[in-house]
Symmetry: D2
Subunit: 379 residues, 4 copies
Amino acid sequence: MSSTTEKSLLGIGLIGSGFMGRCHANAFGAVSGLFDLPAQPVKAMLADATDEIAQAGASALGFARATSDWQEMIADDAVDIVAITAPNILHEPMALAAIAAGKTVYCEKPLSTTAASALKMTEAAEVSGVVTSVGFNFLRNPMVALAREIIASGEIGEVTGFRGRHAENYMANPDAPHSFRTDPQGGGALADIGSHIISMARHLLGPIAEVSADCQTIYPTRPVAAGATERSPVVVDDMTHALVRFDSGVAGSIEANWAATGRTMDLSFEVTGSKGAISFSQENMNELLVYSGSGAGAGYKRIEAGPSHPPYDRFCPAPGHHLGFNDLKIIEVAELIDAHMSRGKCTPDFREAWAVQQTVEAMQTSSQEHCWITVGGAT
Amino acid sequence: MSSTTEKSLLGIGLIGSGFMGRCHANAFGAVSGLFDLPAQPVKAMLADATDEIAQAGASALGFARATSDWQEMIADDAVDIVAITAPNILHEPMALAAIAAGKTVYCEKPLSTTAASALKMTEAAEVSGVVTSVGFNFLRNPMVALAREIIASGEIGEVTGFRGRHAENYMANPDAPHSFRTDPQGGGALADIGSHIISMARHLLGPIAEVSADCQTIYPTRPVAAGATERSPVVVDDMTHALVRFDSGVAGSIEANWAATGRTMDLSFEVTGSKGAISFSQENMNELLVYSGSGAGAGYKRIEAGPSHPPYDRFCPAPGHHLGFNDLKIIEVAELIDAHMSRGKCTPDFREAWAVQQTVEAMQTSSQEHCWITVGGAT
Amino acid sequence: MSSTTEKSLLGIGLIGSGFMGRCHANAFGAVSGLFDLPAQPVKAMLADATDEIAQAGASALGFARATSDWQEMIADDAVDIVAITAPNILHEPMALAAIAAGKTVYCEKPLSTTAASALKMTEAAEVSGVVTSVGFNFLRNPMVALAREIIASGEIGEVTGFRGRHAENYMANPDAPHSFRTDPQGGGALADIGSHIISMARHLLGPIAEVSADCQTIYPTRPVAAGATERSPVVVDDMTHALVRFDSGVAGSIEANWAATGRTMDLSFEVTGSKGAISFSQENMNELLVYSGSGAGAGYKRIEAGPSHPPYDRFCPAPGHHLGFNDLKIIEVAELIDAHMSRGKCTPDFREAWAVQQTVEAMQTSSQEHCWITVGGAT
Amino acid sequence: MSSTTEKSLLGIGLIGSGFMGRCHANAFGAVSGLFDLPAQPVKAMLADATDEIAQAGASALGFARATSDWQEMIADDAVDIVAITAPNILHEPMALAAIAAGKTVYCEKPLSTTAASALKMTEAAEVSGVVTSVGFNFLRNPMVALAREIIASGEIGEVTGFRGRHAENYMANPDAPHSFRTDPQGGGALADIGSHIISMARHLLGPIAEVSADCQTIYPTRPVAAGATERSPVVVDDMTHALVRFDSGVAGSIEANWAATGRTMDLSFEVTGSKGAISFSQENMNELLVYSGSGAGAGYKRIEAGPSHPPYDRFCPAPGHHLGFNDLKIIEVAELIDAHMSRGKCTPDFREAWAVQQTVEAMQTSSQEHCWITVGGAT
């Protein structure tokens, strides 16, 4: 018997132990057993709002140390990668501190509360040359990678149209209370989940040039807190419908909707081409529908995720064994570790996340001004 | 043995023996065997472009007489109901002649080539008091009637959003040639099939007040005729995406697309409410998806068409025996005969069809002017 | 103007004006407008139990004459084709009379109440050389024709397995009363609807050689009539599960179930091959799922019915306009008229319907004797 | 800052580092971050065939120590729970050794190569009182728990029928080579994956009393190894169709098929009741279809997995974020740790796994003897 040989170790410092913090911790814990990585992540430190919360989180999530001082954590030599799952308003100072310390930064979406702030973070990272990654995890799905390949291959011909949506129902109840999600700083359905379908649209078809959007507040007031009888006005959108024109000239539509009763995760798109089409919904995240052929044999083919669609093969050698949401985070973390070791680029990085945010803001402006807006035009 | 006793007879005069003419003839032939009507239609006369075509059509479709002179037919005493399936440009003179002769008019969609023309027809019909019906057959589906009932009942709560589409692929091929469909007078995807989803939207949620639309020509030229090498410019839209605001304040989106590779009949809608939702696609025309409930038992229920959804029961006493497209025309004709006998109203009639056309034109104007347009605002 | 020229006329004599009678009448009325046939059917006479019922039916369904004497009708010179939709017990005498009169016979399924009776009818028809057809209408679906073509083409390789079912819910309620369907003479789920999936299985893969079946009565008593409080024993099956071996050696399973809560028309099959597979359910009767390919691009393709799948093109020149149940009867009647004129063969004819019934009886025997039974082995 | 406080630790000894070994390791690593458990698992030792394999596995999977001597590992004081993912033939000696050492045993399915061996293991475990668990992971799905609750609640009324299947395509290629799966000792589609649907059937509806089965070898020979040209006979089944009668009297069918081209994970069932029905397929593992209601509003409702369906809430606070296959193993391990600490019972334990195996063998006997067989009848 022998003790096991370790690869070079990579210290992870995680900020936040809520839902997303747990996702990150789980991903860092599982990734070595699934991927053949150049380094092994070690859960070095966890920072949270108080010592108690931080210690409880560290214990549950397997971190060696805990702290209520995120600045101390960022400065710690044991920390190589800083993972940020704190409230959006804190992303900028945390990321700037990590960048200043030369650490790789892995930040949850949205990158910040405004595009201007996101650009500041992007430029700081690029000047210092640190690796950055932003948690638009839905892009990590092997089925999305397959969609990109099919588009690039020309199998569906020239792209002629796009129809995208991110619809959920978590704010469909008029009595769902205010929270950070309804804060005018970075809140609203468009910023919260519209950013996912915008990042997907860009991932598949490139930049969006121009938008005409209609941001609507369905429920004008909400309880000030869970269970409260007092209500206060809602100033963010519950639902946005937008027309988009991509740089390529392709036209389409995008919807963001957190009051979409009946939809739990309809992050969906249909890409139409001159010879074929692709259709996907996160509600069936382990399949991609691909249309090809003509005449008697034409039809939409349901392709199920399997080992032919990397990195599915890292999770299972056989098809039909579904990946789940948490697995997308593991894929994200695997790419992060590879990029950290090779000083490479993550997709998406800070710059890409900034462009997403800029598109969100163009839509908001379009709705306010009731006209078409060029993305980035006002800059 | 005895000869059979006939009900009062109703003479049908059909103009046109193409695809839609055959649909009408089939419907008039079948309706008595399925519905218990106050009168029995008789296929009296068929008019078409030449005597030869008219005679061949009459023979195949079971009409007693044939003519190449539609004016003669409209004037004939044997004709009580004039069914128009001629080219769009002829709808106005034919309908005006029938109205002048006091005949009930059953006209295929679009009602005419412009909203102005449609309004003229509407006003003429209303002045003379004749019954009118327009062939937006998809509204006749028992599942659409069920959708309306569910919305009206409050089962899905307050309506909060709409998402509609009519997407087909019959012009997806860049080499599909010019035809009456690409004629700037009444042509384009929006006028041709967008009118179906607009009529559906109005049928479900009422008038549309304001639009922002993007009409796009995907293929700038097409062959001048089938098989021709010569190509000429296309000036109508292949695809339109539009933002809409209903009179009720509800917001949503509408897409019309005849270049939607992979879609054969995606006339679909999703109506979102504060307590539930409804989803439908003509691709599965015998089912309606209805979302209700909350917590562990919430979900989209797939309701299959059956005898509980009139007038399905007229076609079959058991569920699961699908209605087809041609059956929708039979339902349309049954309503027409009832309205003719009672001097009642069809849904949709000329006025409704005019309002649809007005909405189409508002979208076209919005796209040209690149801004929001109030429907009917220019009147 | 001229009167229309008629083709040679074909007199139809219909027995019965219930659900199936109406289907037949509708089909004979519509077929000329859709198909290019060598002769034109004329609704000559309708026979039913009483003069009143017959006259009412003839009037509603467009038959020229009515009678309560089916023998008189069969003998009438105006009748060329006898269509039988009477109770099963009358099929044999009616068909034998029509055969004796040299008339083409179109009989609803099941052909008779026993395989022995069906064989007698078959042999009489073959001796006299009349054309026969039996109403297993589900075989007429263009998607089923496509399935047969795909199997024959070798596209799915060697057939390796079969899984078939006909499940409905019309007897799922324990208080659904007795009727002719629960009569031990020809009744039960297996005889009533199991015959459909057996005919489908034979249509696709050929004769069934051997069976092991379990016929189960789920509800031991039912009301003696609708609304009655008195109940009497049920002696027929509500649900049958069977193992089958085809003559070809292929193994599989078949289920017949009329107490299948939740299923309205799950006449479904999956044919598995060494290179591909086919899946179909009548619940989505306008589509066929075909699996082919391997590796990253493999998947089930949803092929929608369209004009490339004859005779869909007879109903509509574009895909996506669904066929309905009544359209299957029109296709059946078109084949019947063609066969009548050419003295050809219908699929299925009496002999095929007898073989289906023989298979049903083998399953019943297998269940009673609790062992495998060779189909036709006792003959 | 403080170091984190640990709960009482639980030493895991894992045998095997293949696909299933990695699943186990991943589950033990992730479970503490997701579940609130009474103890924290520690990856203490990994045993595999050679020191090299064991060390590589331990390194990749995060085990503290590695060994090629599984007996040494079982005896080690650091090991509290022995997880067995070794070849089936070794399950018995390994489990018996672990039982003798008083360790909790977590064994992959099938429990052993014969029912007799499985019974021996079961009795040993029960005599010594150790906790046992067997890896029929599909039972851990929250949607399966929901199905059980719905059945138990009476929502679907009296259960009247069952239709189950486990179909995959991994041996559909005639050139897929021999492996341990085709070994007559415990091999074949029925034993390999049929055991999953049998365990599911028992989980939902209780013991199976009687079976009539048809085990068929589709491809009589296979290559002796991957890529080999030499072929040798196959003596196990590729596909089994079976009729089943449960102890409760309910009848149904079960299919096991590893040559099911087009199916990657069709572990599916339909439970029919007098008032409703349930339908599920592992191909859509995050949803359960539940039929209820009657008349115009009846239909199959698609219930998506969400936090209302424990322990989904452990993975995510919102619905729509799919669980994947690996998550089922995490749930399995959470139950195991709970049972270990409370000396409770896992579902399924060794006794249940033995009953599954007994049912498999009854089906094999039924096929050989071509007759119905009482399960456990020969004992």
